[in-house]
Amino acid sequence: MSDEPEVASETGDGSLADTIGVFAPRGDELRIIAATAAVLALFPYVFARMPVVSDVLQGYQGLTTLILIWGIFALGFDLLLGYTGLLSFGHAAFWGGAAYATGVFSQHVSGSPILMVLAGTVFAVLLAWGLGFLSLRRGGIYFAILTLAFAQMLFYMSSSPLAFITGGENGFTGVETTDLFGMLPLQDDLPFLLGELLGTVMYAFTALLALLSIALAYRILQSPYGMVFRAIRENEQRAEFVGLNVWRYRLMSFILSGLFAGIAGSLFTIHGNYVPLSSLYWTESGEVVIMTVLGGTGSLFGPIIGAGIYLYVENIVSGFDTIGPFWHLILGILFVAVIWAFPRGIWGFFRDVRDYVTGGEDR
C-alpha cells in the first residue's frame, strides 16, 4: 500500500520522533490519516445533502454513522481474517457484548459517551482474551466452530438466564446517554459549515473514533505485529521455527480485533439508544465476514467499503419499490459476482486497476 515508507522518516523526523516517542507518525501515516479525515468530513454531505448526488443515492444522515460503526467492526475483523488468516465466526460476541456492556454501564455508572465507549471496549477486550484463549486451541474449521459456539452461548445467556440484566427478547432498553462533554447533545446538528458537512454531533464523534481506529490499525500493520501476522498466515510452521511464539501472537491478533469490535459495538448502542438481542446472534458474525470479504481482505479500507455497500443495500436498496423486496438476493448476487471477478474484493480490484495504470508492481 505504501510507496516509499522509509524515505520521509529517515531524512526528516529522526530526532523529532525520539522526543515524541514511538507514537510519532512515520512514513506515509500522516498522508493516510489526512486523506481519511478528508473523506470522513465530506462523506455525510455528499451522501445525504449534496444536490443531485444525494438524490440519486437516496442517502440519509443516520446511515453514515452506522456505516462507520460497522466499518470499524469490519476493520478489526480483517486484522484477524485478512492478516493473521483466522476465520472467526463468533465476533458477534464482542460486538453484542460491548453493546450490552455499554448499555448497562450507561444505566448504572455514567452516561458520558466517552466513558461508555471505554467501558464497552474494555469489556470486549477482556471477553476476547478469554474466548481467544479457549478457541485458539484449535485451528481452521474447528476454530471457526468454537468461536461460533461461544458466541451462541452468549446469545442464549442474554436471551433468558441473564434476561434480568439484558432485557431478554425485548433487548436492552435502558440506555441513558448524556451529552458529549456534558454540553453537546449527540442528536443535535453541528453549527454552520460543520453542520452542513458533518451533520450531527453523533456523526462527528463516530468519525473521530473511526479516524483513531484507522490510525491505530494502520500503525499495528506497520509495527512488527503486521509482519508477524502475515508471516503466520503465510506459513505458520515456519513462523514457529524462526522462534516466534505463534500462539501468543494469534491471541493478540484475536484480542486486538476484539478491541475494534468493542469500539464499534459501544458506538452501536449509543447510536441506536437500544441494544437488540440480535446483536449477539450468529447472523451478525456472518455479516461482518461478508462485509470484510466483499470489501477486500488484507487491506485497511476494503472492509469499510464492504460495510458501506452492505448497509446501503440493506437500508436503501431494500426500500426501492421495484427491486427492494429482493435485497437479500441482490446482496448475494453482488457478493458472488465480486468474489468471482475479483477474489481480493473491491479494494483488491482498485489496487489492480492502480497497478495497471501506474504500471508499477508495488505491493
Binding site: R26, G27, Q222, V228, R230, N235, V242, G243, N245, L256
Partner: protein, 252 residues
C-alpha cells in the same frame, strides 16, 4: 564443549521404531553429517531435536539443558535453528520481510508487545536482516516477492531464515535437494563460507555423498533408526557395515 547431547533417544510410531536408542554428542564448532538410506530415521531425528516430534523415551540436552519439554520456538530461541528440506518461506512477503521476521525473532525474542511501534524504528532488526541477505547473496533481490524467486534462490532464502535467527547450532535437512548442479555448488560454497565466517556448529542431513565427504568433520550413519557407524569421512568410506547397509554399489 559439548553443544548437543542425545541420550538413549527412542521414537515409535505405533509399532514402527523410527529412532532406536540413539546416543550422539556434537561438539561446538563441529560439522556433522547424518547419512543413511531412505527410511533410516534421519528426518525423524532432526524433527525430534527441533521439537516437531515428542520422543517416546530418552533425553536431548542442548548446552547442558534438557529440551524435551520445550516448545519449538523456545528451542529456536535457545539457539537451535533448522532449515527445511523444502523451501519453507513466507511466499507472499518480500525477501527482505522474510529475513526481517527471522531477525525480529532473534533480536526481540519469541513475543513482545510492540504493536504500537513502527517497524522503521527497529534498526537492529533491519541490520541483521540486511547482513543475512548479503551473506546468502540475496540482497539485490530484497524487494522482490519471495514467491517470484527461482527455486535455488528460494532455498537460499530458506537458509537465510535459519541463519538470521543467529543460531549456535544449525540443522540443515538436505539443503541441496532439488537443486541444479550449479545451484548445488553455490549452496555448498555458501555453507563453507558460513562455517568459516560465523564459526557455526552444524548438522547436515544429506543424500549427496560428494557434499557429505567434502564438508563434514564427522559422519554419523543411521540405518533402521540406529547408529551403525560414526567417524571421520575416511573411516566411514572404509567401514564394512556402512558399505553393506548403504553405500553398496555406490562409486565413491
Amino acid at each position: 564443549m559439548t553443544l548437543l547431547e542425545i541420550d538413549g533417544l527412542v521414537k515409535e510410531f505405533g509399532g514402527l521404531v523410527a529412532t532406536d536408542d540413539v546416543n550422539l554428542s556434537i561438539e561446538e564448532g563441529e560439522r556433522v553429517s547424518i547419512i543413511g538410506p531412505n527410511g533410516a530415521g534421519k528426518s525423524t531425528l532432526v524433527n525430534l531435536i527441533t521439537r516437531r516430534l515428542d520422543p517416546t523415551a530418552g533425553d536431548i540436552r542442548f548446552k547442558g539443558e534438557s529440551i524435551v519439554n520445550r516448545e519449538p520456538h523456545e528451542v529456536v530461541q535457545m539457539g537451535i535453528s533448522k532449515s527445511f528440506q523444502t523451501a519453507s518461506i513466507f511466499s507472499d512477503l518480500t525477501v527482505r520481510e522474510n529475513a526481517e521476521i527471522a531477525a525480529l525473532a532473534a533480536e526481540h525474542g519469541s513475543f513482545g508487545f510492540k504493536f504500537l511501534e513502527h517497524h522503521d524504528s527497529l534498526t537492529g532488526v533491519h541490520a541483521v536482516a540486511e547482513d543475512t541477505l548479503d551473506a546468502v547473496g540475496l540482497l539485490e533481490q530484497a524487494d522482490r516477492t519471495a514467491t517470484d524467486l527461482p527455486y535455488g534462490d528460494k532455498r537460499r532464502l530458506e537458509i537465510a531464515l535459519a541463519l538470521a535467527a543467529e543460531p549456535d547450532l544449525l540443522l540443515m535437512d538436505e539443503p541441496t535437494a532439488g537443486m541444479s548442479p550449479e545451484e548445488t555448488d553455490a549452496t555448498v560454497d555458501l555453507i563453507e563460507e558460513v562455517k568459516r565466517e560465523l564459526g557455526l556448529t552444524f548438522v547436515l542431513i544429506e543424500h549427496d555423498m560428494e557434499i557429505v565427504f567434502r564438508i563434514s568433520d564427522r559422519i554419523v550413519v543411521l540405518n533402521r533408526g540406529q547408529v551403525i557407524a560414526e567417524g571421520t569421512p575416511e573411516e566411514i568410506k572404509g567401514d564394512s557395515a556402512v558399505q553393506e547397509a548403504y553405500l553398496g554399489g555406490v562409486e565413491l
